[in-house]
Symmetry: C2
Subunit: 329 residues, 2 copies
DNA sequence: TTGTACGCGTTATCAC
DNA sequence: GTGATAACGCGTACAA
């Protein structure tokens, strides 16, 4: 390993001078600057971030905590965060919590131990105390928090839109799928849809699901049609579940969207590649990740923050699991 | 921040002793051990990994470099790596290269600067020199290398199997989709399929695609049927492309698998949720990630390695985009 | 404009 | 058994 001392020796100056040219701090003669740079080149010196981090008590590391990167919604988020952080010169320390408080704590601890200068968390954190005594900025992503800045999509509005759209398109016996209780965004969209549905005059059922896992989704789908065979509209808790419902409906020989309309939530990339392509409520995942990163960077730079909570807009993506709206009525 | 010095003061011993009880190195009286532990508890002390890393010249950090986490194949890999590394007490420094040599180099550098003790790379690395002067162990994942240990699926065999199966099931005019030239695994599976097809007596075309992006996939699919409208069997370069082909075929009113058989590659999670569910060649992504992590850990521990190159088995997943095999013929 | 010397928090080596 | 203390590589007062 080549250290700043080696560079100093090679260029015949002191380590202080080398440090000065590298960090562009303080005056340094052009000639010596060149000498130093030459030595740096020759030795292929690159500063030890660990030593730097120890001295300055701050690194160029950001902690990113996700529930599960295997859920297709999150890679987009992660990518948004990464691209922005990379632009700003930060690197990511990354972990999946599986919505498990212990894992969450564990990662948080190691983040701190590694001197990260900020954390972006998309985990559930019922026990809010987790984050209380962190002395570094935290931004929550895909979830709300009163105590911390956050970036999230307007789930409640998304739920309302979904319900509106399916009603407008004529479904009369709707099944509303309620996502896992401990996942806040799932509850928001459920509440929004429930609000609209309960003020309407159509029949509807609520069915509760307890996970977003691929493996479970098909189970719920079967159960749905077994329990409510005459359902003609499904508001799914996310696109995974919607996909399973679609799949099962086709298997049962239903025509989509004639016999049954389906609206998902998230607009994960593969939703547009389904057959028929899935109508859904889009969350701008990549942009959310980016926003969260930008917000965190601003906070770390102690810039003025206009808004602590950034609510991202949600839009209805009208594909082929919903009918064309009847403009005559 | 509470340091080892604070603990020492509080428990009335020296920092050396505190270090000894924490690291369980050297003798220390049970009574003092208890005193120290009490102080640790009370102060909620947890050691600074950065200082530790500086002194020992090794951290508990692993660098993980992926092409693009947004491609559904990679989250599985990443999760396999993470779960195993987490078990072993390592954390992940994570980056996407986008198959871009500059980004790759950049991440590699920052990995080194942060004292990572090992690297798992799933990137393309045409310029092999990149990794040459790294003084830490590297394991390649989802790609082969003569110079470094690696974990990868048997792509060539996968290609052969796919071709065999589609032939066995009676396709006569096959289109073989060739993946991006710079992605090694894509070429392997292509070669395998080509080998079998060229020894058979059926007609086949080769069509080259240049990316695995969702957005491009639909374009290739349209082009495929425009150019070869009478194709009755498609060997896709991966499941994304296969999905797009399936989608387009259904749009064109083809019956699957009667008019057209399709076999994908990878078995990404959503392939089973398509309609009809996609027949494909499965790569055990999660297990590959795990294997790579285990291999790297062994190398870091200087354990004896039986094999530097771990080739994972590939299997045909017989779902509904292929016909049932005719056992009479 | 440049160099000396100290400290960041930890571990390991040596005395005691 | 325990305590000083030197080192890890870097950045910054302060002195020159």
């Amino acid at each position: 390993m080549v250290t700043i001392r080696d560079v100093a020796k090679k260029s015949g100056v002191s380590v202080a001078t080398v440090s000065r040219v590298l960090n562009e701090t303080g005056y340094v003669h052009e000639d010596t600057r060149k000498k130093v740079m030459a030595a740096v080149e020759e030795l292929k010196y690159s500063p030890n971030e660990v030593a730097r981090s120890l001295f300055k008590k701050k690194s160029k590391l950001i902690g990113l905590l996700l529930p599960d990167i295997t859920n297709p919604f999150f890679p987009q988020l992660a990518r948004g965060v990464e691209d922005e952080m990379q632009r700003e010169g930060y690197r990511l320390l990354f972990g999946n919590s599986d919505e498990n408080a212990e894992k969450e704590m564990d990662y948080l601890n190691t983040f701190i131990q590694n001197n990260v200068v900020g954390i972006i968390s998309a985990t559930n954190n019922k026990t809010k105390t987790n984050y209380k005594d962190l002395s570094i900025p935290v931004v929550f992503l895909d979830r709300t928090s009163n105590d911390y800045p956050s970036v999230y999509a307007d789930g409640k509005e998304g739920g309302r839109i979904a319900a509106d759209e399916i009603l407008k398109r004529g479904s009369k016996r709707i099944t509303l799928l309620k996502g896992p209780a401990h996942i806040q965004p799932a509850q928001d969209r459920f509440q929004g849809a429930l609000e609209v549905l309960s003020q309407s005059s159509v029949d509807f059922h609520v069915m509760t699901t307890t996970s977003f896992a691929f493996e479970d989704a098909e189970k719920w789908a079967k159960e749905l049609f077994a329990t409510y065979p005459d359902t003609d509209g499904v508001l799914a808790s996310n696109d995974i579940v919607a996909t399973a419902v679609l799949h099962e409906a086709l298997r049962l020989g239903k025509s989509i969207p004639e016999d049954l309309q389906i609206i998902g939530f998230d607009d994960i990339p593969q939703s547009s590649l389904l057959f028929p392509p899935l109508s859904t409520i889009r969350q701008p995942a990549y942009e959310m990740g980016k926003e969260a990163a930008q917000l965190l960077v601003k906070i770390m730079n102690k810039e003025k923050i206009e808004q602590q909570h950034i609510q991202m807009p949600v839009t209805f993506i009208d594909r082929n699991t919903t009918r064309k709206v009847d403009t005559n009525g």
